[in-house]
C-alpha cells in the first residue's frame, strides 16, 4: 500500500518530527515560527507507532543551530530533526536538553520574583532525566512534575 503523505514534502529546509501533539503550538512559539517569513506547514494528531498522537513541522529554507533547536527539548524531548536539500534528507539530529534554559519554563516558586515582574526566567539544568531546573533568581529547584511552560 502506498504511504500517504499527511504534510507535503519540502524542497529544502527542516522537518521536525515526533513532537507530542499537545506541544505543537509551544514548539511553534519557542522557535518563533509564528513570526517566520518562510513557509511553515504543520500537521497535528498524526498516527504514530511510538507516540500517542504526534505533530510534525516543516520549515522551508530554515536550518536551525543546535543551540536554537535544543530550546524545544523541555516540551518535545523526543523530537527528531531532518534537514532536507533537494527533497533528500541530508542530516538527522535529536534534540538534547541544554545546560541552561532561558525564558521557556516558569519557576514553580510562587514567591519568586520572576512570577511577579515581567522578566525572563533563567535556569541551570541540574538534572536532565528527570528534568530539574535551578532558578537563577530564587535558587529553588523546579522538578519535571512541577514544570510549566511560559
Amino acid at each position: 500500500m502506498k504511504k500517504q503523505l499527511n504534510v507535503s514534502a519540502i524542497k529544502q529546509g527542516t522537518v521536525i518530527d515526533h513532537i507530542p501533539s499537545t506541544a505543537l503550538f509551544k514548539v511553534i512559539s519557542i522557535l518563533k515560527l509564528d513570526h517566520c517569513k518562510d513557509m511553515v506547514t504543520f500537521g497535528n494528531n498524526l498516527d504514530s507507532k511510538v507516540m500517542d498522537g504526534k505533530a510534525i513541522i516543516k520549515v522551508e529554507n530554515r536550518f536551525f543551530k543546535d543551540k536554537e533547536i535544543n530550546k524545544i527539548a523541555l516540551v518535545a524531548p523526543h523530537a527528531k530533526l531532518n534537514t532536507i536539500k533537494d527533497y533528500e534528507v541530508v542530516g538527522k539530529y535529536v534534540v538534547e536538553i541544554p545546560d541552561e534554559i532561558q525564558d521557556i519554563a516558569r519557576c514553580f516558586n510562587p514567591k519568586c520574583i520572576t512570577n511577579h515582574e515581567n522578566i525572563d526566567t533563567y535556569f541551570e539544568v541540574i538534572s536532565k532525566s528527570p528534568v530539574a531546573l535551578k532558578c537563577r533568581y530564587c535558587e529553588k529547584i523546579t522538578h519535571q512534575d512541577q514544570m510549566e511552560i511560559k
Binding site: K111, C112, I113, T114, I119, C138
Partner: protein, 303 residues
C-alpha cells in the same frame, strides 16, 4: 554592570570570607574610619526589618556615609505600581551602593542585574540573608579563635531556617567541622543539605532530643520554633518546651562554648541564660555592625 555584589552566601569564596573577617576585626578595633565620606548609600526596605536596617544604618553612619531610602513599600512609590526594575534603575543613579530587603525571593539577584552600583541583599523572602551569615562567622571566629575544627550544634527550626542553611554552607568551606542537628522531625534539616555534607565527606549527626549531648558543643546556634510551622497544633504543644535552652542545661558545657541566635528570640532561650557568660547573642548583634562595615568596604574597594 560589573559591580561586585553580595546576593547569596555562595557568591563569596573562602578567601573572601577570611578577608571580611579581617576587615571586621579592623573596624572593631578602630570603628571611626570615614571611608564613605561624600558617598550615598540607599537602604531600600520593601518590608520592615528594624534590626537589620538599624545595623546597616549604624554601619553606614560609622563609615561617614549619607543614607537615602525608605522602609515598607506602603509609604513609597512602589505601591503605585512601579516595578522593582524601575525603582532600582532610578535609585542606582542616585546612590553609590544599594542595600535591599524585599519579600520576594530572587529579587536581590534581579536588582543586581538592573543596578549600576553594587547591591547587598539584606534578605529576599525566605531565600538568602548573607550578611547574617558573615556576622555569624565573625562571631564564631572571635569566640573560638578559628573557623576550623568547630563542633556546631544547630537547634530548632532547621527545615525553614535560612540562617542555619547559609551557615552550614559557609562552614563547609573550613576544615573538619562537625554538625549536630537538633530538631523535631517536622522541622528536620532538609535532605539536600545532608547530601551536600556527605558529598564533601563531612560529619553530621541528627537528634530529636535536646540533652547533655550539647556538652560537646563549641557553638550552639538557636533558632525559633514557630507554631505556624506545624500543620497540627497538637504536635507543636508536644515539642514547644523540649527545645527551650535553660541555664541549668549549660552546667557541663565546654568553657569555650558560646550560644548564638539570629534574634529576635521568642522563648527558645530562657532569660535565665542571659547572664551566663556563654550567652553571646547580644554581642553577636553588635558584631553585625563591624561585619557590615567590612562588607561595604570590600564591595566598594575602600580598603
Amino acid at each position: 554592570m560589573n559591580a561586585k555584589n553580595l546576593i547569596s552566601i555562595t557568591d563569596f569564596s573562602k578567601e573572601e570570607y577570611l578577608r571580611i573577617m579581617d576587615l571586621a576585626a579592623d573596624f572593631e578595633a578602630n570603628p571611626d574610619q570615614r571611608l564613605l565620606d561624600g558617598k550615598v548609600v540607599a537602604t531600600l526596605f520593601f518590608e520592615p526589618s528594624t534590626r537589620t536596617r538599624l545595623s546597616f544604618e549604624t554601619a553606614i553612619n560609622r563609615l561617614g556615609g549619607e543614607i537615602i531610602g525608605f522602609t515598607d513599600s506602603s509609604s513609597s512609590s512602589v505601591t503605585k505600581g512601579e516595578t522593582l526594575h524601575d525603582t532600582i534603575k532610578m535609585v542606582s543613579n542616585y546612590a553609590d551602593l544599594i542595600v535591599m530587603r524585599h519579600p520576594l525571593e530572587g529579587s536581590a539577584r534581579y536588582a543586581s542585574e538592573v543596578s549600576n552600583v553594587p547591591v547587598i541583599n539584606a534578605g529576599d523572602g525566605a531565600n538568602q540573608h548573607p550578611t547574617q551569615t558573615l556576622l555569624d562567622l565573625y562571631s564564631i571566629v572571635k569566640t573560638q579563635g578559628s573557623l576550623n575544627d568547630i563542633n556546631l550544634f544547630m537547634v530548632g527550626d532547621l527545615k525553614y531556617g535560612r540562617t542555619v542553611h547559609s551557615l552550614l554552607m559557609a562552614m563547609s568551606h573550613f576544615e573538619n567541622p562537625i554538625f549536630n542537628f537538633i530538631a523535631p522531625p517536622e522541622l528536620a534539616m532538609p535532605n539536600e543539605y545532608k547530601l551536600y555534607l556527605r558529598s564533601k565527606g563531612m560529619r553530621y549527626f541528627e537528634h530529636t532530643e535536646f540533652t547533655d549531648i550539647i556538652n560537646e558543643a563549641d557553638i550552639i546556634y538557636m533558632t525559633r520554633v514557630q507554631k505556624e510551622r506545624f500543620p497540627d497544633p497538637v504536635d507543636y504543644e508536644k515539642v514547644k518546651n523540649v527545645y527551650i535552652l535553660r541555664n541549668k542545661m549549660l552546667k557541663h558545657t565546654k568553657d569555650n562554648m558560646r550560644i548564638l541566635h539570629p534574634l529576635p528570640r521568642v522563648n527558645e532561650i530562657h532569660t535565665d541564660v542571659d547572664s551566663n557568660p556563654k550567652a553571646y547573642y547580644f554581642d553577636q548583634a553588635r558584631n553585625g555592625v563591624y561585619t557590615r562595615m567590612a562588607i561595604i568596604a570590600h564591595l566598594l574597594n575602600l580598603k
